[in-house]
Symmetry: C2
Subunit: 306 residues, 2 copies
């Protein structure tokens, strides 16, 4: 056993539970629940969960709780784009969102990007179906207007899907439905394009020789765009951080997820997010649920910046 | 002037109008309005519009009118995936949709795919953030339930973004917001991946030689995934068909768009869509606006198939 590692017994599996949220609340001895309670009790600083997102989210919300003033946790993913880090959130925690949720995602993503990539003022964009402020769903249009007034954030406006991979922004904010679609299309298309290149390389002798010579470099590229190299998604918005490697990752990817969790904890992503949201007046004011007051209105009265 | 071509004067440009919908209603002499009225008057069978989608949609709705029983027109695009035709709709006409709109999009896309690719029974899927019927927005979940009961359609369930490029379905249905995001991410990522391959090919002498040999084949591939080769998007759901080449297309792409319009008109996409929707009982029953009755309920009482 390496130094500093403690194994906690978690003999019950809720991986196949029909209602993961309910199972996470009622089953103390599932590994995700043990991990979340260890964080809640201060025995651990962050948790890493490779199971279903829904279960980890439920266990985190129930045990670790939402950070003060946060509407909804979000899943943030560093995209597998070589040499050009882009953080996309939400990639699946919230299928339906309100404008104030998108505004908070912008701050959460910006704080994460600052810590992970050491970029002091990341450019933040909203994912939409057009660049104009009037384009997008009602929530996107409203979030755009609020972000234009927001302090402590470098909001660069709406971007379309193609700009996601063209370096137009460092942090891209979306609802969890279209964010998930964007992520999956991106992963699928980059893999598929490389497969197409391989198939095309069989069409002529010249191309076959060319492909043979190029192959080792393409192999490296394959590795670069492999989601496993990123280590997984960050769960932001709880009192402590979570990192979620994908279920199909090997031990390499899970190890990387643990390193990400340590790095983001040392960089105090949770504290930085709260400070930025507080300075911008974008924290949810009431500690209970129900519609929160418009974040942008509050932001306008607090001209400070993080 | 080639035989069969008649030029109609349209001296007024509304390309930069602040409110394209209003301009399309008040400006008789704009080319898109002239084209739409020619179709409405029976002088033409379809229109091809390279300007803004919003303007063409407004001109089409105002002059050609929605087809009987159709809730909303939708933009359908054959995706630039080599050797594997996939029709994605809606790619931007309707940012917000209801479940019955998604159901109609499924029939509209299926009819188009049958005509364009001569596939008798295309597999139709809903784009979502998970394959389970419970995943997705409220509208997607409801549309899934209705499509499971729908006749005259090969509904294969939900697919995630990566499956869009993996041949999981022939027709993929989405709201216009996430459909547009999916399309743009796909186009951007395939182009970007090829650029990455070129950059990687400069890293070593071996790779440079390989790339030199492979380049002619890759050039062909570039052309295959060029959206211009597809000729543009189909505007479905009006009494007559529209085709919209992208604004950045050259004359080649516009010529292709005209051919697409002729082919889809000869194949009677509009008539086939109406027949399929009618047989499935999925037509909007009231001719006026306001919430329509649930399409699936109506479908359940008409067990016939198209």
């Amino acid at each position: 056993m390496p130094d500093g590692v403690e194994v906690v017994d978690a003999p019950v599996s809720i991986a196949k539970a029909p209602d993961p949220a309910a199972a996470a609340r009622s089953t103390r001895d599932a590994s995700i629940v043990r991990a979340a309670t260890a964080v809640a009790d201060g025995q651990a600083d962050a948790f890493v969960a490779g199971g279903s997102t829904g279960t980890a989210l439920a266990a985190g919300l129930f045990n670790i709780k939402r950070a003060r003033g946060i509407h909804r946790p979000a899943l943030a993913l560093p995209l597998p784009i070589p040499g050009m880090p882009v953080t996309l959130l939400d990639v699946g925690a919230n299928v339906e969102v309100r404008a104030e949720h998108l505004v908070q995602f912008a701050y959460m993503g910006s704080a994460l990007h600052q810590v992970v990539y050491e970029i002091p003022r990341p450019r933040v964009a909203l994912l939409s179906n057009g660049e104009e402020p009037s384009r997008g769903t009602t929530e996107v249009v409203e979030a755009h207007a609020r972000l234009l007034e927001a302090s402590g954030l470098d909001f660069v406006g709406n971007i379309e899907g193609h700009a996601l991979v063209e370096g137009a922004a460092d942090v891209v904010v979306a609802d969890g439905f279209s964010g998930n679609v964007a992520l999956k299309v991106l992963e699928g298309t980059s893999q598929r394009t490389l497969v197409e290149v391989q198939q095309i390389a069989r069409r002529s002798v010249r191309a076959r020789v060319g492909n043979f010579l190029l192959k080792p470099s393409l192999y490296d590229f394959h590795a670069e765009i492999d989601p496993e190299q990123q280590g997984g998604a960050y769960l932001l918005g709880l009192r402590r951080l979570g990192v979620m490697p994908h279920g199909r990752f090997t031990r390499e990817g899970v190890a990387r997820a643990i390193l990400l969790a340590a790095q983001a904890t040392e960089g105090d992503v949770v504290g930085r997010t709260r400070e930025a949201l507080e300075a911008a007046g974008a924290l949810r004011s009431a500690p209970v649920a129900a519609p929160a007051p418009p974040a942008a209105d509050a932001a306008a009265s607090v001209p400070g910046s993080s």
